[in-house]
Symmetry: D2
Subunit: 358 residues, 4 copies
């Protein structure tokens, strides 16, 4: 069943496999009259692309994209925006050794069983390459949100057990100051060392991306199923390798008392604010005007440079050897993907909110 579409009003559909002709996105429902900033799209793709630094995979993707429709003289026309990235650096032969083997903790086995057919080259549709299409759409959404005063700031807050300690005093300008995308250069350096060390061992490591949404108006989100944080959660959990999502106080809330957790309303500079923000900017599923924040947990990349026990498509025991070019840690490249998916959710809810009063 159709399942490659995300969003209700601002709606994207992605397609493409990592080793096919290319990947792409069709954005349907983009309002007319907005400038499309190709440089902004390019910038976000650069942040996501492999081979960008010493701590990412050395696989190279060119990421030249082509706008096929929906834009006239640089302005959105309200018709579907179709954007294509052709695949170039496809070393499909890298995958021939796993054509009949199921790699541990990859989607090979489940895809083969579900569809009865599998494009084994690079994971086919399960490849994280698909997220480049999301990053394109997200960059467009971020541009529109920016014109409405909303900015999205994602960053790496943990790599393994190395965590940022004081997240409150953040300088978002530092996010891209280092290759791990942690806006605290001291912690960033320790993260980078850690990743390099793990890479040497042929191993991989997990991490956490934190996202802040600044300037979100009151009223986004719907009361019951489409709570703002439920849609953000689904968006994040739909990203490859994500294992958990929490917003505001998150899992810590389970240990707290109501008297600690409740955020007192008060007035500051004629604005309604809350004194604390355990709510994470969302009350009853609807944004309350405070900054929105959430954490996304990523598992370590499944491809490791070691021999692993597994089975093949005849249910025989086999050894899967680590080959190919893969990330030792996915979070630095996940930052623009979190930005993108966040922007898609927020813009969609902005538009949905337009029809609540009429």
């Amino acid at each position: 069943m159709a399942a490659n579409t995300f969003g209700e009003i601002f709606r994207i559909t992605t397609y493409g496999e990592s080793h096919g002709k290319g990947i792409g996105v069709v954005i349907d429902g983009c309002p007319s009259g907005f400038d499309i900033d190709l440089d902004a799209i390019h910038y976000q793709l650069q942040r996501r692309k492999p081979g960008q630094s010493a701590i990412t995979t050395q696989r190279r993707e060119e990421e030249a994209f082509e706008v096929l429709s929906g834009v006239f003289e640089g302005i959105t026309t309200g018709t579907p925006i179709s954007i294509l990235i052709r695949n170039t650096d496809q070393k499909s032969k890298d995958y021939s050794h796993i054509a009949t083997k199921y790699r541990p903790s990859h989607a090979d086995y489940t895809y083969a069983k579900k569809y009865g057919i599998r494009d084994y080259r690079g994971g086919g549709r399960s490849s994280a390459r698909e997220t480049a299409a999301r990053v394109i759409a997200g960059a467009i959404a971020q541009g529109i949100l920016k014109s409405k005063g909303i900015t999205i700031q994602s960053f790496v807050s943990a790599v393994g057990d190395i965590q940022m300690t004081d997240i409150k005093k953040l300088d978002y300008k530092l996010i891209d100051d280092n290759i791990v995308r942690c806006p605290d250069n001291y912690t960033a350096e320790r993260m980078i060392e850690k990743i390099k060390d793990i890479k040497k061992q042929g191993d991989t490591i997990g991490g956490i991306v934190t996202c802040h949404i600044i300037g979100c108006p009151v009223g986004l989100g719907a009361p019951v199923f489409d709570k703002l944080h439920a849609d953000l959660g689904k968006a994040m959990l739909s990203i490859n390798a994500v294992k958990g999502f929490e917003y505001g106080s998150g899992f810590d809330a389970a240990k707290m008392l109501g008297s600690e957790h409740n955020d007192a309303f008060t007035i500051k500079d004629d604005e309604v604010i809350t004194e604390s923000n355990h709510a994470g900017g969302i009350l009853g599923g609807i944004s309350n005007g405070m900054p929105i924040n959430f954490n996304v947990a990523f598992k370590p990349v499944a491809t490791i440079m070691r021999d692993q026990k597994s089975i093949n498509d005849q249910n025989e025991a086999v050894t899967v050897s680590g080959k190919g070019r893969h990330d030792p840690c996915v979070v630095p490249r996940a930052v623009p993907i979190v930005d993108a998916m966040t922007a898609l959710v927020i813009l969609d809810h902005m538009l949905r909110n337009e029809v609540v009063r009429f």
Copy 2:
């Protein structure tokens, strides 16, 4: 915009406010030919209902439900199943003191700002009473899943800092052996004491519900946006008071190495299994046949029996006093809601999977 519908093929729409005429659910897309077990619906409603034990709110809800359509001689006909619960124990006057005040960490403020009108009695649509409608639909879904060999087992695994330690040796029959719904009577007793203690202080406390899905076939879930865990995550995050969701290794995965985290495939009794289950039964968004497991974090209930600082609809500082009948800890009553939402997701994906091959 319409936002009270959940599911693609097995699709529910809920309606109703806590202090209106009643609440209800319309299930559209239920396959024909299944028995409707009214006792099973009643049982799940009893597990959710207020006033069921010394550690829940003493507010009473009758929970007598009426099947209005879609069932002929006890069998589903394939047409929409509409079920209504009328409200009875509505002490709307309990809420007159907050008609113009915004309770801290409640949805009062955000609803008022979003809609420009608010049914202040009991939270209106933001009331957890809405979840009774979900429990009804979930009970029907659980019945259908059971006939396919799938069972869902949710339980309380933490209340504040009291946690179950060894979740592996579980006896699901113990879940309803105690009023807190923790299948470990020793831990359960400590949880119950804790909740009673918190209640005496007029305070509330958070907790965690864990869910296990047993017997799920390989192949449920879709590759990109509608990953099985993404849809489970959205379902859980749409439940009132939920702050976080993690599946399999969850947030711990962020600290792990790939060599630790990967689950080796092997054959046991002619079945494909994995030696460990950090995947939580889901690989690449698709179920792999292993047990599915996830955790859901609940914040402490916002209504506490204490005076709190807040503002009113004129932006004036006010004091909100704790009144009414509320739960000191929501997790025991959340268990059947987690069961229900899980069943809705799994059954919907079972049906979605029917059209992948044709």
Copy 3:
């Protein structure tokens, strides 16, 4: 699969069988802040109900409806509006003679084959009684549209071969001046006589309902699949007994030349108008500000008071005798249903149009 929902933003879901507990509608996506006019709902239900005149079925339906949710102190709150009509005049025994027989040109056979189970009493879900739920939702939509200056005027333009000749000089106030709902009393009288004559013969006859939408702004409808007339067409074709839909020049267009058919743009009183209106108020799927008009063809009611050849559920030849209370001609009662479905489409597209520019 779920298929009882209509609309994208203003979205209704109907449920209920003619001989079950009742029928109802849930409206999700109704904007907040609108008055609900119960009298207007009642009025439209009266226009649809059986037994209203000498030329409709003598079966009586009470049509007392109950608003269960979504309205607070008479105003829409933005939450789902649920409205229930309980069934009362259910002579289920009237149908026992056809429990195993398939009535010619009814849905008995196809429903039985599709679902494997059939509520044979009164056609179950295929009964036109379901349309009462649509009329309720349509009355609410008409109220909102009226506040925006849009009115919908449906009327009977043909019964058998008796047709209104000059549709241009219409006085909509005459529509409900006669029991056949034709706004030309001379033609109406001939239609009424015709229907009475047909009824005496135990037979039934078809007819045409014409609809005019006045005051529709420019810009409703979407360019490709969701053309305004495509959505109107689907809405009309979803009404029981409808066999055809045409708008503007309709089937006559197939015989016309471009030079005849094209509508010249011109300016009148500072407004853009077209000199003719073969377009029927819609160009390229989008309303152009001129009156919208379309015709809906209804077949003769399938239940006739005669013996007919058929088969039963054992594939044996049987005779189906005409029993029960049925309409000799459905169009007078179809008028409010056409009004209702039209209002649902127009309001939905009004709301959809709100998010095209942002």
Copy 4:
């Protein structure tokens, strides 16, 4: 709002303007394991393309398409199938004379007002070129349906007042025997002469396409809103220039008596059939196993080679001169589009029907 998607389970999204980079389609929900017949796609595109004969526009479109994703070694993988046609013969200058003028009976005016921006070259998204994307998806759907024993046969049954008289004795093999696609060579010749004559006059003419669906199983279609004929009607009305849709007895039903119209069930060769087929193969919105048939009325093409009165974007009176290369009659090229949209509806309902029983 997103409106370029059609279908529930087999779902297509189209994009592209006539004078942009290209047009394309993404098919999401295509089951895995089916052969993709590129020749069949090519064949249908040839039937739709301009410049194919003396009675179509002489504008040439190359219609070379590229499969970007979703197919592995010639077989569908269950992932989105993306197919792109690049634009080549774009004489955008042909349109410079109408950049600020609104052509009569075109979408120029309504698009400009709706979106506030308009790609005036060739109608942008309102161009019938968009239907090439539908034809591609339809060809794939037709291939899958054929493997299930279902064939779709559309043909021209009327051009202006020249109509096929005896539609019952049809030889579908004759459809493509002549350039007008009428499977009656005598009538076809008269139609061709008529179109050539109209073309000489610089005028255009309307017509009717009739469609027969053979081999459709019992049970397709849903009871209420998604009646099979309602979805077919919407599909047809979404095609450019369509003004009306009728199925089975169609508008004639309005003049008939129930005793004439009812189709008696009987058994023939152990199969349930009806003696007549006024139902057009659909009862109560659900296919009954008899051939499905419907008519689609097309208006004359709006572009004529004559001067016409109109206005420009400053509301000034202007003259629009006929320029460019356009069809004198659209129906010969509409035949494969009707085939395609029909296939999309039938296949989608085939898949939807898979989940009714479970």
